[in-house]
């Protein structure tokens, strides 16, 4: 690996560290007024970071960041005003207060948004109106809390600056020292955030952005992660607000204004969405530009210019400054996705697979039967699942077949938990899972592969498998080991650093199956796994399914009759949402009634 490559891989660590040091060193060298103004840019960068984690990484455009920021600012300042009079120190009261308030309010709002499963549009608009509501309420909101006076549109004044020492003699930090303090705190938050987002927590958040359903099918409680991530971002915004209060010594409702809210996505977009360091770059560039243009720009035209800048950014520079730099740098680096093209055909070694399955059995226990009792699902006047009672056991594969619209996929989706049935029950080894959330079923032993390959396109092949393995094992070393085994079984050893999105359709199908195997499921549900596969691949898949069925319960929904025949398992024919016939494939092939419904012949249609 060349130096350039190593530097590129650690760019998020090296460059911010250098920038932090540079800022700390230069704080005392620059003009105090510039140091004072630059402090606010860093604070805005921190606010931008809070949006980047929810939007760039979490995929939810929150327009409520300035609400958390403002609330954090007000509450942090209330704490500072009251406590600084007693203890001298302002920082240790203001910052935690701002963080807690921002975090709690974000958690509450996030809980409503995510647990209600609002659409993306509804979520964004609700977050926006939350900010505007605070703006409207804060205009007339008057309250005295101890020595602090929240004075409606008169704002709150006499907020103490940054005081680090204790006692009566403690003095407010100079502009240069204030800048150093804010830089140090922001750097700490940045590196903590980067660490979190490189770890499991952040990986799961990335996965939710890329494919929330798949994340849930891997057993992650998606909504809990979303709320936690949002609360984290609210805490960061609240912290930024508390810093802002100490910096400005004065707050008024304009902190909740539309103009203020508009700046946050601009910082993020200018710097680079999802890059975490980008918002600081964006805030620095925007702040520096207005400073350079002189005080005049702050007056009349700033809003106008910013509005136009936002439009231009969205139209022409989606990845921002860091994104553009990264793209330019990558051109001089070897493309890790090249390996995707050199991948050979997948060949399943039965012995390797068996070893994995035995090991999984030792860890996760024996295979579990899946049963449905009078399962009933209706959409308006259509009943795709009409009182289906079926029992699936380990030993040999079970196939569900039937003509288009027979209700095969609907039945499967009801078992998985994507559809909530109106009647009947689904049990896994006797445990009633009928109305359980998907992730809970996965923990009960269910593994699912949907018809389309569901892989996390921006993550590498290795990360895809790892995140699946970690969901079950909750242990890094064990997850590494399982990932390695599955990687080599699928023959993806050379492709482990390839982004999943660069794989071919067939390779993605195998990767998806590999992720299901990583879960060591006790019941496996496969929805048309052979769709889009070549003859050879279908043959391999058939072998895999047959081996799998010896150790777990396997249910396959399939169109491909030839594939079903090679499975040599039990076959159930569904027709108009009901069980039509059962038996082995040869008997069913000879059955006139089955042929009738497949060919659409009159009598039994």
């Amino acid at each position: 690996m060349t130096l350039s490559q190593r530097l590129h891989d650690n760019a998020g660590l090296v460059f911010p560290a250098v920038a932090t040091l540079a800022a700390l060193v230069s704080a005392n060298l620059i003009d105090p007024y510039l140091a004072y103004v630059a402090t606010s840019w860093v604070i805005f960068g921190l606010l931008g970071l809070s949006l980047d984690v929810v939007w760039g990484r979490g995929g939810f455009l929150s327009l409520a960041q300035t609400a958390f920021y403002g609330l954090g600012g007000y509450m942090g300042s209330v704490a500072a005003i009251n406590m600084a009079a007693v203890t001298g120190n302002s920082v240790i009261w203001a910052l935690p207060a701002g963080m807690i308030v921002g975090g709690l309010v974000a958690a509450a709002l996030g809980w409503i948004i995510f647990y209600a499963r609002m659409g993306p549009l509804q979520s964004t608009i609700l977050s926006y109106t939350f900010t505007l509501l605070l703006w409207s309420v804060s205009q007339s909101f008057k309250l005295d809390i101890g020595a602090a006076r929240i004075g409606g549109d008169n704002g709150m004044s006499n907020i103490p600056g940054f005081v680090l020492g204790f006692g009566e003699k403690a003095e407010t930090l100079s502009p240069a020292a204030g800048l150093m303090l804010v830089v140090a705190i922001s750097a700490a938050v940045y590196f903590l955030t980067r660490q979190l987002w490189r770890g499991t927590f952040g990986k799961v958040i990335d996965c939710i952005r890329l494919d929330a359903q798949k994340a849930e099918l891997l057993g992650y409680d998606v909504r809990r992660f979303q709320v936690l991530g949002f609360a984290y971002s609210g805490a960061v915004a609240g912290l930024a607000g508390a810093l802002f209060g100490g910096w400005a010594n004065y707050l008024n409702p304009s902190i909740f204004s539309v103009q203020e809210a508009l700046l946050v996505p601009i910082y993020v977009l200018v710097g680079g969405l999802g890059s975490l360091a980008g918002p600081f770059v964006g805030a620095l560039v925007i702040g520096g530009l207005s400073f350079w243009l002189g005080g005049g720009a702050v007056g009349g035209q700033t809003t106008l210019i910013l509005g136009i800048v936002l439009v231009l950014l969205v139209l022409f520079l989606k990845d921002g400054i860091l994104g553009a730099l990264d793209a330019a740098w990558r051109r001089f680096l070897p493309d890790p996705n090249d390996a995707a093209r050199s991948a050979g055909a997948v060949s399943i070694e039965a012995e390797a697979l068996e070893a994995i399955l035995i090991e999984a059995q030792n860890r996760a226990g024996p295979a579990k039967p899946l049963k449905t009792q009078d399962l009933y699902k209706r959409f308006g006047g259509v009943v795709p699942v009409n009182r289906v009672s079926l029992s699936f056991t380990p030993g040999r594969p079970f196939s569900l077949i039937g003509p288009n619209g027979a209700g095969k996929s609907s039945f499967l989706k009801t078992c998985i938990g994507i559809y909530d049935p109106q009647g009947g029950a689904v049990t896994i080894a006797g445990e009633d899972v009928t109305h359980m959330p998907i992730s809970a079923r996965v923990h009960a032993g269910m593994g699912v592969k949907n018809q389309k390959p569901q892989v996390f396109a921006d993550l590498t092949v290795h990360e895809n498998l790892w995140i699946a393995a970690h969901s079950r094992l909750k242990d890094r070393a064990a997850a590494d080991a399982v990932t390695g085994e599955i990687l080599s079984m699928l023959g993806f050893g050379a492709q482990s650093a390839v982004e999943a999105g660069a794989l071919s359709h067939g390779q993605q199908q195998w990767l998806d199956i590999g992720m299901v195997l990583c879960l060591a499921p006790r019941v496996v549900l496969l929805d048309e796994p052979a769709a889009g596969m070549t003859r050879e691949e279908t043959g391999e898949l058939s072998r895999l399914v047959r081996v799998l069925a010896r150790y777990t319960t396997v249910v396959v929904v399939e169109h491909d009759m030839e594939f079903v025949r090679t499975l040599e398992g039990h076959v159930t024919v569904l027709h108009q949402g009901e069980v039509f016939a059962e038996g082995d494939i040869e008997t069913l092939r000879a059955d006139d009634h089955v042929l009738d419904i497949y060919l659409g012949r009159r009598e039994h249609v």
Binding site: I112, I125, S140, L269, G300, G307, L310, V311, L315
Partner: protein, 288 residues
């Protein structure tokens, strides 16, 4: 409490709901037919108001200034669609951000051109008397205007060639392309129509809501919420939500304070979104 007082509260609340519906319809049309939330909707309302104001000051009768306002906003709307929106088709958040930028730019332009305070125009004087209470007639007339607007949009969508094309383009985009409907042109038309409706709203409400650069913000919060809560069946849905939310907030406001009305609006919206996370009409069979 007297029955007369209750009647006036109900009637004036109904008129606030009607005013909200007038301000919302354009947004609902654009959202329903293009899947785009136009965050600059409020600024189009403001442009309509300023156009009508400028026209009346130049001696044009108020009634005639309304079509002028519609024409101006439609033209600006078409330009915005061609220059910005149609390059972002299918990228809903980018569209929102871009229209947000446009909104703030228009706002600032209005501040630069007109200043922050402008004189209103006199309200056409006629009163309605209920018992001891007398209500200004013009706001009550808005109930009829709102009904007329909703009826106009409904007829336009169901009876005109454009309306059919627009509905086809949103319901089955590929099929619509295949039978020769040019989605881009239909979208330009739809967006212009939405902006024109906003312009109409700004002009017709001018006697009630004086033109100020920030008047858009005040309206659109509720308009956005009404549309988003309404969900995919935007027209019928929005009529219901503006009536329920707007009317409810207005009743709350008349018994408590206007801030309480806003809070009521927000909380009920959050509750409705909790119950219907994709809007109240997400499971309806009808399409308009």
């Amino acid at each position: 409490m007297e029955i007369d007082y209750l009647a006036t509260v109900l009637l004036s609340s109904l008129s606030s709901a009607a005013i909200l519906l007038i301000a919302t319809i354009g947004l609902a049309v654009v959202f329903g037919l293009m899947g785009v939330i136009n965050l600059a909707h409020g600024e189009f309302l403001m442009i309509g108001a300023y156009t009508a104001l400028t026209a009346t000051r130049m001696g044009v009768p108020f009634a005639l200034s309304i079509p002028i306002a519609v024409a101006v906003t439609m033209l600006i709307g078409a330009l915005v669609e061609i220059l910005v929106i149609n390059r972002l088709y299918g990228r809903i958040f980018d569209t929102m951000l871009a229209t947000w930028g446009i909104s703030i730019a228009f706002y600032q332009l209005a501040v630069l051109i007109f200043g922050t305070v402008t004189p209103g125009i006199g309200m056409p004087r006629f009163n309605v008397t209920i018992g001891d209470y007398s209500l200004a007639g013009y706001p009550l007339a808005m109930i009829a205007v709102a009904l007329a607007m909703a009826g106009f949009v409904y007829l336009l969508m169901t009876r005109s060639v454009y309306g059919m094309k627009a509905r086809a383009a949103i319901q089955e985009p590929e099929m619509a392309q295949a039978i020769g409907i040019e989605a881009a042109r239909v979208n330009t038309m739809t967006f212009a129509l939405g902006c024109g409706l906003a312009g109409f709203a700004g002009a017709v409400l001018l006697p009630i809501v004086p033109a100020t650069p920030s008047m858009g913000f005040a309206f659109v919060i509720k308009a956005f919420l009404a549309v988003v809560v309404a969900g995919p069946v935007t027209l019928t849905g929005s009529v219901l939500t503006t009536l329920g939310l707007g009317g409810g907030a207005s009743i709350t406001a008349s018994f408590l304070t206007s801030v309480a009305g806003d809070v009521f609006f927000f909380l009920i919206t959050a509750a409705l979104l909790w119950l219907y996370p994709l809007g109240i009409s997400a499971r309806w069979r009808r399409k308009l």
